[in-house]
Symmetry: C2
Subunit: 383 residues, 2 copies
Amino acid sequence: MSSERMSVRYRIRCPSGAVEARAQALAIEQSIEMPPEAVRDARVRSEVVGQVQSIEPVRDAPGSFDVVLALAAETTGDEPGQLMNMLFGNCSLQPDVELIDLQLPPSMLAALPGPRFGIEGWRAASNAHGARRPLSCTALKPQGLAPEALAALAYEFARAGIDVIKDDHGIADQAAAPFAQRVPRVQAAIERANREKAQADGTLAGHRSVYAPSLSGGPRRLAAQLALLRDEGVAAALACPMILGVPVFVEQVRAEAGVPLLAHPALAGQARIAAPLLLGRLFRLFGADATIFPNWGGRFSYPRDDCLAIAAAARAPLGLHAPALPVPAGGMSVERVGEMLDDYGPDTMLLIGGNLLAAGDAMPARAAAFAARVARAFEACRH
Amino acid sequence: MSSERMSVRYRIRCPSGAVEARAQALAIEQSIEMPPEAVRDARVRSEVVGQVQSIEPVRDAPGSFDVVLALAAETTGDEPGQLMNMLFGNCSLQPDVELIDLQLPPSMLAALPGPRFGIEGWRAASNAHGARRPLSCTALKPQGLAPEALAALAYEFARAGIDVIKDDHGIADQAAAPFAQRVPRVQAAIERANREKAQADGTLAGHRSVYAPSLSGGPRRLAAQLALLRDEGVAAALACPMILGVPVFVEQVRAEAGVPLLAHPALAGQARIAAPLLLGRLFRLFGADATIFPNWGGRFSYPRDDCLAIAAAARAPLGLHAPALPVPAGGMSVERVGEMLDDYGPDTMLLIGGNLLAAGDAMPARAAAFAARVARAFEACRH
């Protein structure tokens, strides 16, 4: 055991006269959960009880304070679920508290899994090695379609040159398109399109589209899905860490998938955890190779600064961990591609779903325009 | 596939002129996630697309509306994680939406696992068969203590006659007290106390205290913990469904533990999901035999009505599912036992942790007073 500590930043709403006591109470809540004067063990008192490191009023926000706690690394047992518990387990029940930021000591940082493939892994999967270009992504939808209909859609997207074709996150293992029937058919359709592109001339010659099916359920069901993934040669996967559970995402999905993982934020937005920390840094530390988040101006209301901060957190230096690919999404349209590329740059995957399908018979053309626009972006800047 | 639907009640903050469009958008968000006019499949349009059932302004809350959606049962695939996804996956990312209530069609209700043991299972475990009495519960803490120290504490609690002795939810599988070393020692200490009570005269003759160790981690780690639980004859367990992940809680923990489960709300309070629904009804449907929640007037700010509603949801008729035991907690004291018993009645487990430890050398006496007070409550009313 070490006496290393992580620095955890919370934002508390509190009258200023009460903030020291409130910060102290939070340090207890997120460590020993009992009156500290009743702790008889000297080691626990010095090495385990949470400590208040600093309290600062938030500028321009009267009654809000940033409180930094030093929480003992040993309390997490180097297990990602327990890390979530120590960061925000009990105080998630206290509405005056938000979790804002986190600094991990190097040993904890190194012990967390991080992405296995990272941004370059996505480029390699789509056969876009070496080119520092953004990637395009779309979703098979709506849920309720039969496997054949989803496969037909996947074929069109792949022929259009979309890099990553994911299941809609609402598609799981339902009767309309069970995983075991859907995944082989969709994968076969994408492989057929890839073979046809390989024989083609022009910009799509050799382009490879990648399928990312949606993983769901408990450990037994996941094990069967992961086995099928390997058997069928599927080259990526989609998962919702907050629905599956962080420990399963790390211990089973990341450890056994063997392909780049696209994390979806379902059920994650409920949190009073700052989105750049949860979707950007923590999901990456748990093993996401790409992280989907709601871009501004779509169906969600995340502010632009938060969106850019999520992308920055996914890519920023973080120990020896590979960067993860930010994936802005949520009601995006082909018309916004230029603006999004300006904002997010080449290390990005743009996800457009419904807007392609809304083109009706013109879907293949709209999808091809989207894919080409993204694939050629920044060409002039490349060496 | 059936065309059955569940009725899901959300509360939306929205200008009244925009509420119909907002409700419609939510119905799309929580089903097909694409423009409905672009859906070509007739079956999907009629059976899968979410429908707005009703919109009602919330009394005395201008700008708030209760919107009931009819969402297709088939979209959940009868998988509890996917149920959470369809109820609140994407709209968790929309801060104007809260999930308030849920009505499931009988087939879905029957397909969800529910408690294996229920309230009577807890009484049977503590050898309080037949007596309709409340139960007492306390927590081993603080985290950071060695297994021997936790076992010594457990022995004192068991000798005092506490019914259920649980790990503090922050105790997981850390180096200070690894699960494999802690659980056999604590279990042995409690069994020794139980043997001594069996030989004693008076009110504790034959009383059995039960240990509920804290389960944590991913599927492999959980499998090892569950095996140890069985090998050691441990008679209960504690788990945090929102940290482990709902699918793992159901598919592995509930299916394989073979003992009553105490659900802890860590990370669950972050939700904009009404606490009576999540902690009371959903955790019960997922298999919790008891559900811990923050009582009013302690370290948490849940209003009294919400606390009573959580207890009511845990015990209310629900298809053929057994009732779960409500466990009010969070900074409770022995002084409040009478008031809590008046409010919650005999089908309740009272959890007091730090307040017992704060008694210092007088802890055994305070714990015994707590246990006796709870065990004898409502005696005069029994037949």
